[in-house]
Amino acid sequence: MSEERRERRSYLIGTLLSILLTAIAFATIPLDLPRGGTMLLIGISAVLQVIVQLRFFLHIDLSRQKREDLQLILFSLLLLGIMAGGTIWILTNLSQRMM
């Protein structure tokens, strides 16, 4: 299989997986599951779809040449988690105490 076909197939796989994961996420709404389960499903499929797109569209993988980019992304996610998670923690705590 030529390099080009292999790469095209990778894009197509990425798209198909994304469609699948999006469909699962959207299907939770009409299915009317319990709220906790819905949130969990939406959350998991979002995370999976991010990974799929990073892998198949942005070509980030565990190989050595990509290590620098991967480290950058993981470090950014750490800081994003600290900032966004911290904000939500602080502000919900505050609003609970102001009830």
Binding site: E4, E7, R8, T22, M39, A46, Q53, F57, Q65, L72
Partner: protein, 207 residues
């Protein structure tokens, strides 16, 4: 293989300097995107913290405003545009001549414009229902988050036009190859952010 380093880039070993400059630009742009991610992250956090009855201030809430069909169509448009953008990258990498690249870029732009049109229609509908950003803290944060993404898409459309002009004037030079590569990163990144938006804003709002 060094060609795998950056998909869409086949400057080859003979272009040492150009390859180095291109690597700098691509890495620099990755870093910029990560900085942009924090920008979005702050707005995501603000939105999440504002999804309370107090922040909605008695105004319309998600159930009254969100349209799952429209969100789904926007998602489809954006995902399709990601695929066509990928096809443009492949054309850049494997095909000589600008025609195929330009074609895929134009399709990407059209899909992006379709996404934007739907988003603007949603905004107009919401405003017609009295849900302006001035109505409540929650709506302010909603418009800011979704609007900033829309603004990024708009910038992306302008970028495509500039790229097409450059290709038309100069052909596919090394410099333009790098820029196309960076544009592809940008566009895929916007799709990633959109996954966050439809999950956190629209689906969570309707769940």
């Amino acid at each position: 293989m060094s060609q795998n380093l950056h998909p869409g880039l086949n400057l080859g070993a003979s272009h040492g300097d150009a390859h180095q400059q291109s690597e700098l630009s691509v890495f620099g742009f990755w870093v910029f995107l990560m900085s942009d991610l924090i920008t979005f992250g702050v707005l995501f956090a603000t939105y999440a913290a504002s999804s309370t009855p107090i922040a909605m201030a008695g105004g319309p809430g998600p159930a009254a405003l969100f349209d799952l069909t429209s969100t789904g169509m926007q998602t489809a448009f954006l995902l399709a545009s990601s695929l066509t953008c990928g096809m443009a990258s492949l054309a850049l990498k494997y095909r000589e001549g600008p025609r195929r690249i330009a074609l895929w870029l134009a399709v990407t732009a059209l899909l992006g414009a379709g996404f934007l049109a739907l988003e603007l229609r949603d905004f107009a509908d919401m405003i017609a229902k009295g849900a302006t950003p001035m109505r409540s803290g929650w709506l302010s944060s909603l418009y800011a988050l979704v609007g900033l993404h829309g603004l990024h898409i708009t910038a992306g459309l302008v970028w495509i036009v500039v790229l097409l002009l450059l290709i038309w004037r100069r052909g596919v030079t090394d410099l333009i190859k790098t820029r196309l590569l960076i544009f592809a990163l940008y566009w895929h990144f916007l799709d990633l952010v959109w996954i966050g938006i439809f999950s956190v804003v629209f689906l969570r709002g309707l769940a």
